[in-house]
């Protein structure tokens, strides 16, 4: 058996372990084991690569691995859970950067005399890698608030983006025909960087979950292209898995918003309604007809509730209220109420965002229910508590055909006997749409910082319980 055979067998084992690992992630109680499988797979793949005949110097490899591991360990251990969407966006950026740089180095080393198909793969790899890099940095900036979360649009946006894409693909074709045309190769790289920025500009904050999935898919496809360029199967498999997960999650997210992939990417939703809201003036929010309650009122309603459903949204993540939400749930459960959580698939800024935050707060995952599993139960629920969610509980999605979110499946909070909504202010949500739930007679609005209000509510509920006892 030659060294190459050993390397290939190690790659095969790694691929099998990656698939096994992802399969174990299908259930919460086997998921951690899945991560172990994938880690072993990665170790085998790296060891196999270090045996590669082209590697003759280990000096820079060692230094780079040490630096990368140090930064990776720091990020892995210390990034708070609420910053998870930002972390994912950043890691897509790193992935895209790595792929683009490998592509450039491949071109420099083998470009002039590589087979045509290899050049084509390198071209795509560099383009997708560059696009993923800047696109993910843009997404990161929007999530961090460095760049405005509002969609940025200008006339001819989609046409110019398509033109840039067409030019880049033509550039790849040109380099395939003339492998020594280095200038064109670097133009393709540059177009990738530019297009990454342009593609994410028109996307609004609420569409972030889909964009993160899409960038995940690009990163995967870029890795697969690297695999084709290097003739490396483990890269192709991982690229397919990563790209596939991005596409699957993206489709699920778009479905949960009743929008097509295309509509999210090219639609720039949020700009028109936001403009309309601005035209109506900031003071036009229907504060007059809304039923604003105090925390004592809320505690009184909760004291007699036998069944409670908590609906978390992005606002819970912003005010980091997940721990105090759990305290409230515990206090209510101690008083004999049945407490469950209803999680909308697009609540938050990435798939599964709310689940991770609630898990961080020690909420057992049996209490977390998907939209489909719990939506019929709101009608027989005493109190629904909405913490920082808006569009995902907006009944306009069911009743107003002209609403931008019409047709989106929403949590039927309006069916509960009483809805208590914690909200910072009456400003409309990210889609910029009025929410008639907040002005319903059966809804009690509690305004202010969710974390602070909830902490006081927990005290109020506890003292209420003491009075009753």
């Amino acid at each position: 058996m030659t060294t190459t055979d050993v390397v290939q067998l190690l790659y095969l084992a790694a691929s099998a372990l990656f698939i096994l690992g992802l399969q174990s992630m299908g259930k919460a109680d086997t998921a951690r084991r899945g991560v172990r499988f994938a880690e072993v797979g990665m170790l085998l793949a790296v060891v196999g690569t270090l045996l590669h005949h082209e590697i003759i110097s280990y000096h820079w490899i060692a230094i780079s691995i040490v630096i990368g591991s140090a930064i990776g360990t720091a990020m892995g251990l210390f990034i708070p859970m609420v910053k998870m969407p930002e972390r994912i966006a950043l890691s897509h950026a790193f992935g895209g950067l790595a792929v683009a740089l490998v592509g450039v180095s491949e071109y420099v080393r083998h470009g002039a005399h590589a087979p045509m198909l290899t050049i084509a793969a390198i071209g795509l790899e560099v383009f997708l890698g560059a696009l993923t890099f800047t696109g993910s940095l843009m997404a990161f900036g929007k999530l961090q608030g460095v760049i405005t979360g509002k969609p940025l649009t200008y006339p001819g946006q989609n046409a110019s983006n398509l033109l840039a894409l067409a030019v880049a693909l033509a550039g790849v074709a040109y380099v395939v025909a003339n492998p020594s045309a280095a200038t064109v190769f670097y133009v393709v790289l540059g177009l990738g960087f530019v297009l990454g920025v342009l593609l994410v500009l028109p996307i609004g904050g609420a569409d972030m979950p889909v964009v993160i999935c899409l960038l995940n898919a690009y990163a995967g496809l870029a890795a697969a292209a690297t695999g084709f360029a290097l003739g490396n199967n483990v890269l192709i498999i991982c690229g397919a898995l990563d790209g596939g997960s991005g596409i699957i999650l993206g489709l699920m997210m778009s479905k949960a918003m009743n929008r097509s992939f295309r509509n999210v990417v090219f639609g720039a939703v949020g700009s028109a309604p936001a403009a309309a809201a601005a035209a109506a003036g900031p003071g036009a929010a229907p504060t007059s007809s809304a039923n604003v309650g105090s925390l004592e009122d809320a505690a009184a309603v909760l004291a007699s509730a036998r069944s409670v459903i908590i609906v978390p949204g992005y606002g819970m993540a912003v005010s980091q209220a997940q721990h105090v939400v759990r305290d409230l749930a515990n206090a209510l459960a101690a008083g004999g109420a049945e407490v469950r959580y209803a999680i909308h698939p697009v609540a938050g800024r990435m798939p599964g965002h709310m689940n991770v935050l609630l898990a961080e707060a020690n909420v057992p995952y049996e209490q977390l229910f998907d939209l489909d599993a719990i939506n019929d139960d709101f009608g027989s629920t005493d109190v629904a508590i909405v913490v920082g969610a808006n569009d995902v509980v907006n009944p306009a999605a069911k009743t107003q055909p002209n609403s931008p979110i019409f047709g989106m499946p929403v949590l039927a909070v309006d069916q509960a006997r009483t809805a208590i909504c914690f909200k910072r202010s009456f400003n409309p949500g990210f889609a910029g749409i009025e929410n008639e739930l907040f002005t319903k007679p059966s809804t009690m609005m509690v305004l202010g910082d969710a974390k602070k209000s909830l902490a006081e509510l927990v005290q109020a509920v506890k003292s209420e319980a003491k009075l009753a006892a």
Binding site: I56, I61, T73, V102, A240
Partner: protein, 98 residues
């Protein structure tokens, strides 16, 4: 068309099918850890970066390769650590001790 390319396409298409089957069974509950894990796995581009950094071709490729190794290693190490940190938090209801 070269055999390598055909073999690569075989692997890609079959990998995509297997991936689709496996990934669509992951519940909403675990979507963030899933994304984080596939992220770590896609750090496999390390394989390409290592060759670029260690081939000693010229200063430029060594530099590009080394930066790529740093970026990919951050994803691999950070990705696996944070995925495990997240999954550790997903707990069932504690058993009632009487």
């Amino acid at each position: 068309m070269s055999t390598t390319l055909i073999m690569g396409l075989y692997v890609f298409v079959l990998g995509a099918f297997v991936g689709w089957q496996v990934l669509s069974k992951v519940p909403h509950l675990l979507h963030t850890p899933l994304m984080s894990a596939t992220n770590a796995i896609s750090g496999i581009s390390l394989v390409g970066s290592l060759v670029a950094a260690g081939s000693d071709h010229d200063v430029l490729t060594t530099l590009l390769g080394s930066v790529a190794v740093v970026a990919a290693t951050i994803n691999v190490v950070g990705g696996f650590l944070i995925t495990d940190r997240m999954l550790k938090m997903f707990k069932k209801k504690p058993e009632v001790v009487r």
